[in-house]
């Protein structure tokens, strides 16, 4: 099976894609959870693909990105590493620009519910 092709298809199909350990609902690694929480804050849709048990796919990913660890984040088809890269990019505002360009506009913000 050609994992490189599968990965390229997945990257093309998702504007924000996280390869991690576990799923969005059940992350199985602290760094994957951190990355999910990170993208939750931006309000754009994103996908998490669990590759914890899929060693050959993880190896194909590592080779394609020259990046040995999980999670691995792709935005608009481009590799952005993990939150060690995305955190400083969000602080400088660079990531917001990348996301706006990917989605063609600002995210739909969830209404803040005031309980008082």
């Amino acid at each position: 099976m050609d994992y490189k092709e599968e990965i390229e298809r997945e990257i093309a199909a998702n504007k924000v894609l996280v390869y991690g350990k576990g799923t969005k609902d059940a992350p199985r690694c602290g760094f994957t959870l951190e990355t999910i929480e990170f993208f939750d804050r931006f309000g754009y849709p994103f996908e998490v693909i669990d590759v914890l048990e899929n060693v050959p796919k993880r190896e194909a990913l590592a080779e394609m990105t020259n990046w040995p660890t999980l999670p691995k984040v792709f935005v608009n088809g481009k590799f952005y590493g993990d939150t060690d890269i995305l955190g400083p990019m969000a602080q400088s505002g660079e990531l917001q620009t990348v996301l706006q360009e990917a989605f063609g506009g600002p995210a739909e913000r969830k209404e803040t519910i005031n309980l008082h």
Binding site: G30, F31, N66, W67, P68, T69, F79, D84, I85, M89
Partner: protein
Amino acid sequence: MIADDALATLIRAELPDAEVGVVDRTGTMDHFNVTVRSKAFAGKTLIEQHQLVYGALKAALKDGRVHAVELKTIVSEG
């Protein structure tokens, strides 16, 4: 598992001028906070800087001595 200084030695084998700070996050000697300061980072994007460090740790990550790294790179001006 790997000792802090052994991890730093792996990084300096690739980046000889590097100042390396290692903190064991979990006390299990396999999840680390690593800070690397090197002249080799000059002119490189953050992602390229991290790729340089991960290149040095490739074998240790693959064989499981190191599970996870929270990495910070700093361009040395000196």
